[in-house]
């Protein structure tokens, strides 16, 4: 039989009320409180209950998470439930914190339930499955039923339907889906157009999500003292591509020493080329400086218009690369640049 672990706060874990909200995390090899209800409804056995005070998790989050992950290291489990947290804000945030950590550490499905008003929904719906729940414990049975029904589908390997059908909060995670009635795109498009023309209601298949815009940094007043780095998504690498950066859908980046170079030598000289598969490589292979302008930066350096060109340039490939991977690589590169005391970056794309 498959195994489940349930996370509860001090109240539902039957330790006590607000006065013991700073209760340190503990794990019990038994079904405590709501864990019994889970056990009844699940096609799995609840082997352990984790209990932690909401204030402990809220104020000493890192310690709480580490402790609980430590408890779970030697526990064999297939699925993890947290809550239901109803409208209790701290409890919702706690379920989200531990749920996200467990998901990342053990890669098991994590399911929770929260009322729409619970701040945990907005913060953690991307990381774990959260089902809409009631305001208070009066809805305990209904809420646990919802999450265990879905948990059972996962445990039994059943086909999972889109969020709108399963009922959990939408997470901004989009996958392709074969429509049951196989209505082809051209029918959907023209039907949608006719509705739009006639002022009838229609439903876009891609609702435009909120944009993740980065604010423009304040201008640097004096460049003559500034160390500037070149970073590119144009795929310029040493000809042997030492970091094996992919030509499309990249997940890797590279860092290449240019100290002492007046410019980047080209592919014919066996030095630098582009591995980017999304644009015509002829110009960049002939002169990699058109993508990573080391030559121009050296001139500025000579003229004293900039302080210094950073000794390394950074490179990856932008074509087909997902925003998430790009953001991760960007953060990693930014950290290196900050550590090296680089004050400005010229980011070239293609």
């Amino acid at each position: 039989m498959k195994k489940a672990v349930v996370y509860l706060n001090q109240f539902f874990g039957q330790i006590g009320g607000e006065d013991v909200a700073d209760h340190a995390p503990e794990i019990r090899e038994e079904k405590v409180g709501a864990a019994m209800l889970y056990n009844q409804l699940l096609d799995a056995e609840v082997t352990h209950t984790v209990i932690c005070g909401d204030n402990f998790m809220g104020s000493r989050t890192e310690e709480a998470v580490e402790t609980i992950l430590g408890f779970l290291k030697d526990v064999d489990f297939d699925i993890f439930f947290a809550g239901p947290a109803f409208q209790a804000g701290r409890y919702g945030m706690a379920c989200g914190e531990i749920g996200k950590a467990v998901k990342e550490e053990f890669d098991v499905p994590v399911i929770s339930s929260m009322n729409i008003e619970n701040p945990g929904v907005e913060v953690f719906k991307k990381d774990i499955y959260i089902f809409p729940g009631g305001h208070s414990a009066a809805k305990m049975r209904d809420d646990v039923k919802k999450v265990t029904d879905f948990g059972n589908k996962i445990l039994n390997g059943e086909k999972l339907l889109p969020a709108e059908k399963e009922g959990y909060y939408q997470r901004g995670i989009r996958h392709q889906y074969f429509l049951e009635d196989e209505t082809p795109a051209y029918e959907r498009a023209i039907d949608m157009l006719l509705k739009k023309i006639n002022g009838e209601e229609f439903e876009s298949e891609l609702p435009i999500p909120e944009l993740d815009l980065v604010e423009i940094a304040p201008a640097i007043e004096d460049l003559s003292e500034t160390t500037i780095a070149l970073v590119t998504s144009g795929g310029i690498v040493p000809v042997e591509n030492p970091d094996k950066i992919q030509s499309a859908s990249a997940t890797r980046w590279g860092k290449y020493d240019i100290s002492g170079m007046d410019k980047l030598e080209n592919r014919d000289s066996d030095k630098f080329k582009t591995i980017h598969a999304g644009y015509d490589p002829a110009a960049a292979d002939a002169d990699p400086n058109v993508v990573v302008p080391v030559d121009a930066m050296r001139k500025y350096e000579e003229e004293g218009r900039i302080g210094k060109l950073h000794d390394y340039f950074y490179s990856t490939v932008g074509t087909g690369t997902t925003q998430k991977e790009a953001a991760r690589m960007g953060k990693e590169i930014a950290q290196e640049l900050q550590d090296a005391n680089v004050q400005a970056v010229i980011l070239t794309s293609t």
Partner: protein, 441 residues
């Protein structure tokens, strides 16, 4: 302009003594057909195969799909490409339906090439598994691009078109089983009933982003990179004016077969005179530089305004960078007071968590999504591979790879594969067939 497409429904294909069409059976004299293929001295090796829906056959690297046709009067099926330039879309053309000519590399693939499974789980990912196909599997002496990720595939694509024209001649003297007639009166001479209906245009954005010649879609043989948006009669597209190029991750592509059968066009024709007045096609393109993108969007919006277009469908052959052209065009039209619907695929990543299009705008409020280019697909080995399975991993197909920390190579020793949807041949069926959408999970 009036186009009459005469249909011959192909129920089966076989090799035989004489190339002929009889009672739904297309018989092919293989030797004679291969002679047509070998007319180009760059073709070094070639064979023909026949594959049908349900066959446990995997085709890779697939480069092109074409519907065999015959132009009554003997002109080229693809004017300006396979013969002299002449007007397409005004006359009679005979079509071998429910089949296509598929062009497959015997060895070498590239970024733009794809995969087709005729049977099993993988069949659902392409339109071409539902057709009977004559497969030209061939190699060329184009050594300059054998190891290049981007290939023009010139010799193979043109051999495919010659073969499609050769097969089309089988129905040269026959009476079609039925006919589809496509006719629109001139815009300024439509009757009151049509003129009172909402004016609708289709805006097409074919792939045209390569600066070097030989990769882009062609419009009567003209490189679409050198083109500004222009008004076309929908019949021209259905009748061979546009051919597919050899650039863009494969699932996002429109094959030549797609242009010949473009379902968004045929559906707009069905509505014409009933719910809409079909104005025509604004043939735009996809660009690299921002100013080029903006220029094209401006031209499209201007044409729509000048033509009095009330509503438009915009569709792009591609994803990533060209999303900027796609959204830019939708926004320019909405700003001009034109109600729009967009048709494209998305790129949300293997985990589904990434921004669906490179640029987004709240004015693009009616979008149809046809798939996720980076969806991970695992498929069991097939009984037979036509082409070379290793190409998927070795040659930089947009949905294949040689190594991955977690997934290993795209091609496993037992012949099973793991790939991104990116490499499914015209898999997102942006021309309009796609039974896929995108959902929140």
């Amino acid at each position: 302009m009036k186009l009459e497409l005469g249909n011959f429904y192909v129920k089966d294909i076989e090799f035989g003594a004489k190339t002929a069409f009889n009672d739904g059976i297309l018989t092919i004299n293989k030797e004679e057909a291969l002679e047509v293929v070998f007319k180009d001295k760059h073709i070094t090796e070639a064979d023909l195969r026949i594959v049908k829906p349900g066959d446990m056959v995997r085709l890779v690297p697939v480069k092109e799909a074409i519907e065999p046709r015959f132009r009554v009067g003997g002109g080229p099926v693809f004017p300006g490409v396979t013969g002299k330039l002449e007007q397409a879309g005004d006359g009679k053309t005979r079509c071998l339906k429910d089949m296509s000519v598929l062009v497959v590399g015997k060895h070498w693939g590239g970024f733009q090439d794809g995969l087709i499974d005729m049977g099993g789980e993988g069949a659902k990912y392409t339109h071409f598994s539902s057709l009977k196909n004559v497969v030209l599997v061939a190699d060329t002496d184009e050594e300059f691009e054998q190891r290049e990720q981007q290939k023009k595939n010139h010799a193979l694509r043109w051999a495919g078109m010659r073969l499609a024209e050769y097969l089309g001649e089988a129905v040269k003297d026959l009476e079609p089983e039925d006919k589809d007639t496509y006719e629109l009166d001139p815009l300024t001479k439509r009757d009151d009933k049509e003129s009172e209906l909402p004016n609708v245009a289709l805006v097409m954005q074919p792939q045209s982003q390569m600066e070097e010649k030989g990769y882009n879609d062609l419009n009567y043989g003209w490189d679409t990179n050198s083109m500004l948006p222009t008004l076309m009669h929908p019949n021209e597209i259905l009748d061979g004016a546009m051919i597919s190029g050899s650039f863009m991750p494969c699932s996002s592509k429109w094959s030549t077969y797609d242009f010949q059968n473009f379902p968004l066009i045929t559906r707009l024709y069905e509505e014409h005179g009933k719910t809409i007045n079909f104005v025509g096609v604004i043939m735009s393109n996809l660009n690299v530089a921002l100013e080029q993108k903006e220029r094209s969007a401006q031209f499209v919006a201007q044409m729509a305004k000048s033509l009095g277009v009330d509503a438009a469908v915009v569709t792009e052959e591609g994803y990533g960078n060209p999303d900027a052209d796609y959204i830019g065009c939708l926004v320019a039209l909405e700003d001009a007071g034109v109600k729009t619907v967009g048709v494209s695929n998305e790129a949300t990543g293997r985990d589904g968590g990434s921004q669906p299009l490179v640029t987004l705008d709240p004015k693009a409020d009616a979008l149809v999504s046809t798939g996720n280019v980076s969806e991970l697909i695992k498929l069991a080995p097939m009984d037979e591979v036509i082409g070379e399975l290793e190409a998927l991993a070795r040659d930089g197909l947009s949905g294949g790879w040689e190594d991955d920390e977690v997934l290993g190579s795209s091609v496993k020793e037992d012949g099973s594969i793991v790939m991104e949807n990116n490499a499914m041949f015209c898999g997102d069926q942006i021309a309009g067939w796609s039974p896929k959408t995108m959902k929140e999970f």
